[in-house]
Each structure stands twice: as structure tokens, then as C-alpha cells.
């Protein structure tokens, strides 16, 4: 298994530059995403790794403009396959969603419509985007269910979402997302709600389909283990900023940003039972009142005066690696 994706000269599929998302309410303004820049090449899996409130899901939804328009303020540029997503008309946006770009969610029970059968829902998407007859669309739906390895797929076409187990529902949602051969797949914690034995099945399936179909994928997760199973590159988000980015193997072997290091140290995997876990102290900042400098500085053991004065600029200590930390050279935790 090649851990690192081999960079090619192909033009980027997704280019996000200086994306900023704010949620404005009567009471306050939440700075959910604060200047995020990244790109995804065709066929590449980028994992956005972060804890709750890091802005990872908001970033993903901004790519499809799925955020409530009334109270959301978006700035920056988002380009998918050369199209400026933020400038698209509603009709163009509908063509983009489900056609060029598809999304799978954490909870398929709420993402699937409970009053239609699985077959009808997949067929409906196919008909809308491809303009084919219902018979053709249903045949395609069957193919898709077989593609995502749903056992006895033909009879499952006639099942309603509530009649399926969690794992099968998630597979059905993946089938629906793949129905129009998207070039970009957005996945928002699609395995988080699944049991361990089912999660690994879905991960392996997604990895395989992504390779076969050559989809660019952005996979949002809070779970380092999931990222290690599926990512080519990882972008670690904290308080609405990408604090570190790089190939998955490099980041797991040699995390640069103190937050990434802290996250890895506090993720329980075979630690010494007789010792405390090296937890990161404190809790993430309030997005309504971000500290002026590095948002992680208040919890960081390496923080110095300069960390508090300005948001650290990205640094590129090695090819393909980026970290927003002014103390990069400082030796790690003793």
C-alpha cells in the first residue's frame, strides 16, 4: 500500500483559497472558518482532521454551498474543476451537487428520505442528472448496490431506509452518492456512527471505490485511526484554521505542530496502563471570541510571547509539509 500519494502535474480538482466562514446571529458572530487554503488533485484523498468546533464540517459544506444563506458570511474562493462555486447560479449549483460533486453524511438515517425505497431514491438521482427512463435508472441502481457490496441487492432495492441496518444504510447512501460518477466525493464522518466491525468494512469499500473511480475525495473525520486508513494527505484543523498539512505517513510519523502532537499523544492506542495519558490541557477556544494570536497558544506548552501577538504564517519545513507554528524549530516535549 502506497501511503503517500504521488504528486502529478494534473491540475487541481479543488482549489480553496483563504476561505472564511462566519455565522452571524443577533447575539454574536462565530468565526467558524478563518482563512483556509488547500487543494485536492483528482484521485487524491485529503482527510480534514479536527475536533468538534474545528471548522472541518463547515469547510466541507461550504464547498457545496450547503450552509444556511441567511446567517452565513462566506469569503475567499472555492474552485471545483475550474468552476467558481461561490459565484454559481442556483441552477448551476444544482447541476454541481450530485453530478460533479457528491456528499455522504454521518447519519444516513437523516440523509435518506424515509418515505421512499432505496431503489427509488437512487433511481431518482440518476434520472434527474442523466435524463434516463425509470427502468434504466432502476437497473443502474441495482448495479450501484452491487458495487457497494450490498448482499442480495435486488431485494434491497425495495426496502425502505428504516428496514436496513446501519451499515447497509451507509452503503446505500454511498451508492446514491456514486450514482452519477462524481469527480469529487465529500465525506462528512461517514463511519463515525458505525460499529467497529462495520466501520472498517465501509472504510475499505470507500478506499477501493475511490481508487477504481479515480475520485478526488475530501474526508472529514475526528479519528486519527480512520485517517490513517484512508488518507493520502491530512490537513489538521484547529479553531477554523489548517494548522498542519502533509502526507499521511509523514504526519503520523513526525507531527510538527504542537496540536497535532498533542492530539496523537492523547489518542488512546496501546498506552502504558500505569501512566496518565499526555492530555492537552484546557479546552478549544470559543469561536465567538478567538484569541488574537495562535488559537492553540493558550493550551500549548511551547507557547511564547510571539505566539500571542499574531496568527502564525504557514511555514514549509519540508517538501509537501506545512505547519502554522512559529516555534517549529523548538525541540518537542521532553
Amino acid at each position: 500500500m502506497d501511503g503517500g500519494f504521488v504528486p502529478t502535474l494534473a491540475p487541481a480538482l479543488v482549489e480553496v483559497e483563504d476561505l472564511t466562514v462566519r455565522f452571524v446571529t443577533r447575539d454574536s458572530t462565530a468565526h467558524a472558518v478563518n482563512g483556509v487554503t488547500f487543494s485536492v488533485r483528482p484521485g487524491e484523498v485529503l482527510c480534514i482532521l479536527g475536533e468538534s468546533g474545528s471548522g472541518k464540517s463547515v469547510t466541507l459544506r461550504a464547498l457545496m454551498r450547503l450552509l444556511p444563506p441567511g446567517k452565513t458570511r462566506i469569503s475567499g474562493t472555492i474552485k471545483v474543476d475550474g468552476q467558481d462555486v461561490l459565484a454559481l447560479s442556483p441552477a448551476e449549483l444544482r447541476r454541481l451537487r450530485g453530478g460533479l460533486v457528491s456528499m455522504i453524511f454521518q447519519e444516513p438515517m437523516t440523509a435518506l428520505d424515509p418515505v421512499y425505497t432505496i431503489g427509488d431514491q437512487i433511481a431518482e438521482t440518476v434520472m434527474r442528472h442523466k435524463g434516463v427512463s425509470k427502468t434504466v435508472a432502476l437497473a443502474r441502481a441495482l448495479e450501484l448496490l452491487e458495487l457497494v457490496k450490498v448482499p442480495s441487492a435486488a431485494s434491497r432495492l425495495n426496502n425502505y431506509p428504516h428496514e436496513l441496518s446501519g451499515g447497509l444504510r451507509q452503503r446505500a447512501m454511498i451508492a446514491m452518492a456514486l450514482s452519477c460518477g462524481p469527480r469529487l466525493l465529500l465525506a462528512d464522518e461517514p463511519t463515525t456512527a458505525l460499529d467497529a466491525t462495520v466501520q472498517i468494512q465501509v472504510l475499505i469499500l470507500l478506499r477501493k471505490l475511490q481508487k477504481e473511480m479515480g475520485m478526488g475525495t475530501i474526508f472529514v473525520t475526528h479519528d486519527l485511526g480512520v485517517a490513517s486508513e484512508i488518507a493520502d494527505r491530512i490537513a489538521v484543523m484547529y479553531a477554523g484554521r489548517v494548522v498542519e498539512e502533509g502526507p499521511v505517513a509523514d504526519i503520523l510519523a513526525n507531527p510538527l505542530h504542537p496540536y497535532t502532537r498533542g492530539l496523537m499523544a492523547s489518542t488512546v492506542h496501546g498506552q502504558d496502563r500505569s501512566r496518565d495519558i499526555d492530555a492537552i490541557p484546557g479546552s478549544p477556544p470559543d469561536l465567538r471570541q478567538l484569541p488574537p494570536g495562535c488559537a492553540f497558544a493558550p493550551r500549548c506548552s511551547l507557547a511564547a510571547g510571539e505566539c500571542l501577538s499574531a496568527v502564525p504564517e504557514p511555514r514549509f519545513p519540508a517538501p509537501g509539509r506545512m505547519a502554522r507554528c512559529v516555534r517549529l524549530g523548538v525541540p518537542a516535549f521532553a
Binding site: 443577533r26 447575539d27 492530555a279 490541557p281 484546557g282 479546552s283 470559543d286 465567538r288 471570541q289 493558550p298
Partner: protein, 297 residues
């Protein structure tokens, strides 16, 4: 159990930036809602006018005048004119507010206590208790509320007291259902189970954990019922089932002035305007309170 235990200071979490209780935050949100504040002031003015009616009214609301009947606005110091018996409209409107408000508020208060209690008991009690209470309430639900109010006060005979009893009976089932729904929701939350796990009895749990969480929705619903109460009370009086003449009451005024609508339409419409303003103000105020209370961070 040892009383002291030292934890590394790093484990002590930093202070969250702001600190304000639930009701504090509700008040704060209300403050920045000009519509609600405005109609809150209107409601306050109406209530104050009703309380201090004898001081505010420029004339005796019951003093009739043969020559001064159905005079237009501003006639001889009667700012809002006179009615068909020559009584001052403004004074009657101010005094009439007492009856209308009373008939709007008292039945709601009774329904809140009675229906709320039944609802909490029904929601928290077992299936049998719930069925007994809620199916009884459903019987009342089978009738349209206006029809039910008319039927009850018709059966008991008119009068302010019977009108209020009728309205209480109309509101109680609705109140009961709101309380029952809220209770059933709260009952299934983990903190109630946690309270049971500490060994607390039913009454203690009701008192400390259920009531506080049910009062909010019940109160919001009650405040929206007040405007309905005022409307229904006026309707009963209009139909002759509420207060009896010559008592000053908006619905009754509307009913008696109706016959003079071709003589002086403006004056005839005034009691209706009073009902409209009061009911709309109560409604918008309760809407504002509802949205301020709804937000949970």
C-alpha cells in the same frame, strides 16, 4: 472520604468568557427586540389603564344623556364620542378593559393551574393515568373551542362568572396537552434517570427536575392564550352570554353599538379597535417571549 485531593493545575479548565444565567440571557435577548419591547409597553399601558380606570376615565361610564347620544369624536370634551345612550365612549373603553382583561387572564390562569397539573401528572404517571387523563381531555377537544364556550355558558346562563368558567373549561384541555407533551419529553432525558439513580423519589424529581423544565413551554403557551381569551370573552358578551348590560365591556359595547352603525360608524368601531389592539399586543408580546426563551446555546 478524604477531603483534599490535589490535581495538576493544568487539569483545571480555563474560564469560559461569559457567564449569564438562563433568565439573564432571555432578558438580554428581549432587550434587543424592539417589537417585543414596544408591544410589552402597550400591554403594560392597557393593564395600568384598567387598574386605574376610575382615576383615568374623564366621565362616569354609566352616566346617560338623552341629548348627547351617538355624538362624533371630540364632541364637548368626549374625545371618542358617545354611545347610543349618550355615555362617554373613552370612559367606557377604559372601564371595559377591566372586564375584558379579567375574562382574558383569569380563565387562562385557572387553565394553567388545572390543565398544567393534570398534564404533568399525565405525562409523568404511568400509562393508565395518562390514558385516563388524556382521553378525558380529548372529549373536550372534539368540539370547536368557540362552540364549546358558547355551549357551556349558554347552559349555565350568562354572566361574567359563568363566562370565565366556560373559558377555563375550553382552555384546560389545550393547556393539559402542552404540559403533558413537555413532561413526557423531559421525563425521558438522562438527567431524570440520573436523579432516579441517586435514589430520589417521584415527588422530589417532579419538584426539582420536571417542573422547572415544563414551566417554560407552559408559560409561553399561556401567554399566547390570553389574546384568545380576550377575543372569546368579547365574543361571549357580544352574543349576550357574557356580562350583562349596562356593565362596560368591549364585546357588549360592540354588540349594542352595532345597531347604530349607519348613524355613526366610527364610534361603533371603537370597541373593536380596542379588542384588536389588546389581542394583537398580547400575541406579539408572547411571540417575542417565546423566541427569546427558545434559544438554548
Amino acid at each position: 472520604m478524604p477531603n483534599t485531593m490535589i490535581l495538576p493545575t493544568a487539569m483545571i479548565e480555563p474560564a469560559a468568557p461569559k457567564q449569564r444565567g438562563y433568565w439573564g440571557s432571555v432578558g438580554n435577548r428581549l432587550r434587543y427586540d424592539p417589537v417585543t419591547v414596544f408591544f410589552g409597553l402597550v400591554v403594560l399601558a392597557i393593564i395600568l389603564a384598567a387598574i386605574f380606570a376610575p382615576l383615568l376615565a374623564p366621565f362616569d361610564p354609566y352616566k346617560e344623556s338623552i341629548i348627547g347620544r351617538l355624538k362624533p369624536l371630540g364632541w364637548k370634551g368626549h374625545w371618542l364620542g358617545t354611545d347610543e345612550l349618550g355615555r362617554d365612549i373613552l370612559s367606557r373603553l377604559i372601564h371595559g378593559g377591566r372586564v375584558s382583561l379579567l375574562m382574558g387572564v383569569v380563565p387562562v390562569a385557572i387553565a394553567t393551574v388545572v390543565g398544567g397539573t393534570l398534564g404533568v401528572v399525565g405525562g409523568f404517571g404511568g400509562r393508565k393515568v395518562n390514558t385516563a387523563i388524556m382521553r378525558t381531555m380529548d372529549v373536550f377537544y372534539a368540539f370547536p373551542s368557540v362552540l364549546l364556550a358558547v355551549a357551556i355558558s349558554g347552559a349555565m346562563g350568562g354572566g361574567a362568572m359563568n363566562g370565565m368558567i366556560a373559558l377555563s373549561m375550553v382552555f384546560t384541555p389545550a393547556m393539559c396537552r402542552v404540559a403533558e407533551t413537555a413532561t413526557a419529553q423531559v421525563k425521558n432525558l438522562d438527567f431524570v434517570e440520573a436523579a432516579r439513580a441517586t435514589g430520589a423519589g417521584t415527588l422530589t424529581i417532579l419538584r426539582y427536575h420536571i417542573l422547572g423544565n415544563v414551566l417554560g413551554p407552559v408559560f409561553i403557551y399561556a401567554s399566547s392564550l390570553v389574546s384568545v381569551g380576550i377575543l372569546l370573552a368579547s365574543g361571549l358578551s357580544f352574543l349576550g352570554l357574557g356580562v350583562k348590560p349596562p356593565t362596560a365591556d368591549w364585546g357588549l359595547m360592540l354588540s349594542t353599538l352595532r345597531q347604530s352603525i349607519y348613524v355613526n360608524p366610527v364610534v361603533c368601531a371603537l370597541p373593536g379597535v380596542a379588542i384588536l389592539i389588546t389581542s394583537v399586543s398580547f400575541n406579539l408580546l408572547s411571540d417575542g417571549i417565546r423566541s427569546a426563551m427558545d434559544v438554548r446555546m
